[in-house]
Symmetry: D2
Subunit: 325 residues, 4 copies
Amino acid sequence: MRFGAGIWLFGQFVDRYATDAYGPAVGTLEAIEAAGRVGDIEVLDINFPFTEGVTVDEVRHALSANGIDAWCITPHIYTRDFRAGAFSNPDPKVRAQALALCEEAVGVAKALGAPTVKLWPGQDGFDLPLQVDYREVWRLGLEGVSAVAAMDDEVRVAIEYKTKEPRMHMSWSTAARTLVGIQQMGREDIGIVVDLGHSLFAKEAPADVLHLINDHGRLFTVEVNDNWREWDDDQPVGAIHLVETLEFFVALRQIEWDQPILLDQFPFREDPVEAARSSINTMKAIDAAIDRIDMDELAEIHARQDPLAAHRLVTELLLGQAPVA
Amino acid sequence: MRFGAGIWLFGQFVDRYATDAYGPAVGTLEAIEAAGRVGDIEVLDINFPFTEGVTVDEVRHALSANGIDAWCITPHIYTRDFRAGAFSNPDPKVRAQALALCEEAVGVAKALGAPTVKLWPGQDGFDLPLQVDYREVWRLGLEGVSAVAAMDDEVRVAIEYKTKEPRMHMSWSTAARTLVGIQQMGREDIGIVVDLGHSLFAKEAPADVLHLINDHGRLFTVEVNDNWREWDDDQPVGAIHLVETLEFFVALRQIEWDQPILLDQFPFREDPVEAARSSINTMKAIDAAIDRIDMDELAEIHARQDPLAAHRLVTELLLGQAPVA
Amino acid sequence: MRFGAGIWLFGQFVDRYATDAYGPAVGTLEAIEAAGRVGDIEVLDINFPFTEGVTVDEVRHALSANGIDAWCITPHIYTRDFRAGAFSNPDPKVRAQALALCEEAVGVAKALGAPTVKLWPGQDGFDLPLQVDYREVWRLGLEGVSAVAAMDDEVRVAIEYKTKEPRMHMSWSTAARTLVGIQQMGREDIGIVVDLGHSLFAKEAPADVLHLINDHGRLFTVEVNDNWREWDDDQPVGAIHLVETLEFFVALRQIEWDQPILLDQFPFREDPVEAARSSINTMKAIDAAIDRIDMDELAEIHARQDPLAAHRLVTELLLGQAPVA
Amino acid sequence: MRFGAGIWLFGQFVDRYATDAYGPAVGTLEAIEAAGRVGDIEVLDINFPFTEGVTVDEVRHALSANGIDAWCITPHIYTRDFRAGAFSNPDPKVRAQALALCEEAVGVAKALGAPTVKLWPGQDGFDLPLQVDYREVWRLGLEGVSAVAAMDDEVRVAIEYKTKEPRMHMSWSTAARTLVGIQQMGREDIGIVVDLGHSLFAKEAPADVLHLINDHGRLFTVEVNDNWREWDDDQPVGAIHLVETLEFFVALRQIEWDQPILLDQFPFREDPVEAARSSINTMKAIDAAIDRIDMDELAEIHARQDPLAAHRLVTELLLGQAPVA
């Protein structure tokens, strides 16, 4: 297993209530150093623009000083200027501004050797019934993502889907909806970020959509966390939905995923380095547990689609043999 | 507006608690007569097999006696024999049995002049984590639906998606997932049933997916009802989500839908004829209300993606001008 | 740990789609014998009326022949006659019929030595907005439960809450709502059934409400199962939400629960005896796992309200120490 | 109808993604002036502390200059210092700090003539399984609220419940849970804020809990908005759930609520004055619509608990008579 993280894990968190933030401001370089302290982080998904005054060279040096590679560059297309949408904003000037920011991000990706620009259009969608022309919002979304993909032959684009937040309904809502859009765009250089938490939130079976996306050749990157299935809580891996998390990691092994697995956590009330270590510890323990699964037995369970045998397998794997009273 | 219904609306309802059923047994012919009593039902979606001893000729006569056409034939691929799945059942014998039943249904569709066999694989999917090989369950589902589509050149297949029930997770779960599967099958004669209630249940924006499916040329039939968005309650149209229901009917007008709109209700505790009339009355009133919408104003709202203007439009349409205090 | 079950676990299942049932009919006496075959079932929650023609004496003999005691008698107040409500039915004749059936159930409880009549008013509530006078429906519900409690000094009443199904909104919806009603009724002989699955379905923290109800002196009986948190799926214990299930059993130990824990499962597609054994096996394994928890460590975690330490405790308990790479 | 608002409606919004805020900073005095511009705002729920450097006298003058009274003072017990809880924070120093802030708020309430201090303990609760001792968290919550209620004989305390956000699980989660806690505290000067949106979010029937709380003598204040039922979206009144919103206002009339109804909106992307006016316009239109309801007919519907008659009443009220084809 190889690990990475979204740099935001090590940043400052704010929400609409704790408007004075959950902790002090953290610069891009500090965040990279914090990622380095975790000990297992090979790569980072880095937001762009960086914090005030930080240069690409400084980021490159901070990354190499911490033995970390740039995995994705994720442009901030969901901040104030884009509050009514980035690619599908009703104002063409704002749409152009979003594309200009993405173009910068593509340049930064090349400069830092990151293969991917990640697009998370968190403000693209709608809030109320009858507010939008759904066809037009979708068309503009496809147009925008296609334009970013066309910016550079070496840098590919990965779409991160989520059902909502901050927009109450996001355009790129589920794995299948994103695949439909990708097929409409008809480009090979556009893929998908499977975020385990977003998949749980979308009420998907994460292992199912991981395979579906991989079978379509669109699995570009993987993020992990956990939540209460009603919101993107970005909690430590396996803290709540351990059984489905285990199944997701079995699926990652089945597809022979050898790329880094990135943490997408928001440790609002915890130390970020400890929060990252806690998830990595759990993932290593899950990986060791998967080594103990009899894959022939699992194949037989699957051949029979046997729920009770699956229940017993999970029980014995996670709880051990029940004592004979 | 033209109306139709699923014949089950007029049948006997049972659930896992009221095992003595919510009312007396109702035969296929009685159900057709009840549909005729509603007064506005032009077409029926008819389950096959019919109730004990009823012949195709008897059904044809009952339909014509009531001035009703057969719209879909829907085979019972979710009863006891198929409790562990129809097309994706782990037992090849049961899969063959499902296809045989569908072949009969295709024959009945031709005999009754119904253009469509509706497939609702309500038992295809899974119940527990680690129970199934998702890739194989999906592959079998595609194989089964394709096989039914290939049975006859004149009879097309419409897939009705739902997220769950009776299977805890159904393979054909959302509009987008169904589109992905249809693209994988690569046939022109396979389309989608948009059920307004299933779309609300899937947390989709029904007007959005109606357009998406129509733009893909896959909108074969439309069913309507309402629910509490957490289960397929099959309640009267617009009884709970009136604003989104209004928006859905605006979308039907935008795509110039001139086919019947079918009721999919389960009036467990009500008279079915009255329940159907109540929904039809509401749909006629919605249609009249849509006539009162200034479509230029709506277009301007959409151009601005203006939520407050949408709110005002809905308020004035449904509540009238607020009194000036 | 002591175990019991709801007798329905061993019965015939039907739903609104598999109207020919998921399996053959099962009589009350057969169901008792099946419960006996499980091997660990000490007590049963028994539905009344029994299946056709079965007498109280036959039930008594079947129970003793299988070494099982009657734990609760649960009257069928949610079948056809009560489809529009039992205690809160708008028709006073039906309300009287419900009370008469409950009175019979009280007599059967005494005859079989069961300390409790369980009331699950699954049809009491409402389906649509503006349908009911909420105050009156609630008042009638309190009146009905109070009347049953007053029927006999030795037989107490336990209310099983659930948010919905079969009624779309049930009156006795959550743990707290049920406590409010019990306080309004002002009787000591009315308590609550905590059903782990109903609590998950209600989006409660099951361990939290177990303590809340116990601290109010109203915890009369406990049922267990698992679900997908959006419906009462009645699946095997710990199959989906293992971590919260573990926490629930920690809470049962904290309150020194020494009464039987009853299975409430609907093994639609599985062998019921095997389904029951699978849950019991998991509960025994959970119990053994709880023995391995350092309760001082847990107390320190609770003193600090430390989420990462809780995450680590669960990881080490269920997955073991992560290997040092 | 009388109207009010939470002052935050007119303030600056930020969330975890648009960390540069959705608009410019807004001071307490500016927000009061904006409220005055709405035209129908009689009262405000005012957060304390005020923005930097603003004095109680300045607030008093701004209120009177705008013809607005102070309705509630709501202390900021959910900002950074209280991120791990206010009343139930594991650190007694932070709990004391929360009480000290509440004491200041009580003083401000007296100084501004506000009858109520509103407590919204948005950080009190938990995030992960096994993190907290639920009994202790609940006990501390009761202790804290009681302490605030005891601070002054003239100022009463209103608890605003919400299921989650910012804490993933909030202690004061539902109407019934809050009533249980109030009964445990045993004080007459502690009541409840019914927020229509929080009630929809909790999957309650808002009209039902309004009556339940009022019948317990605990309805202290009412807030309104709408949402998608899965999050506290704080959208304009009736924009999504118009039918249930109508029913809620019928219930307010039934209890003869003559106090102000406060807006709790977060117009992230809209002009706040226009957003407030849009909701007030809708509420006035709802009020006029309720005048058109035949209350005898509604009483008969309720006597029969008749869902189809309720459906027809809503259809005719909101859509008018359907045209006779």
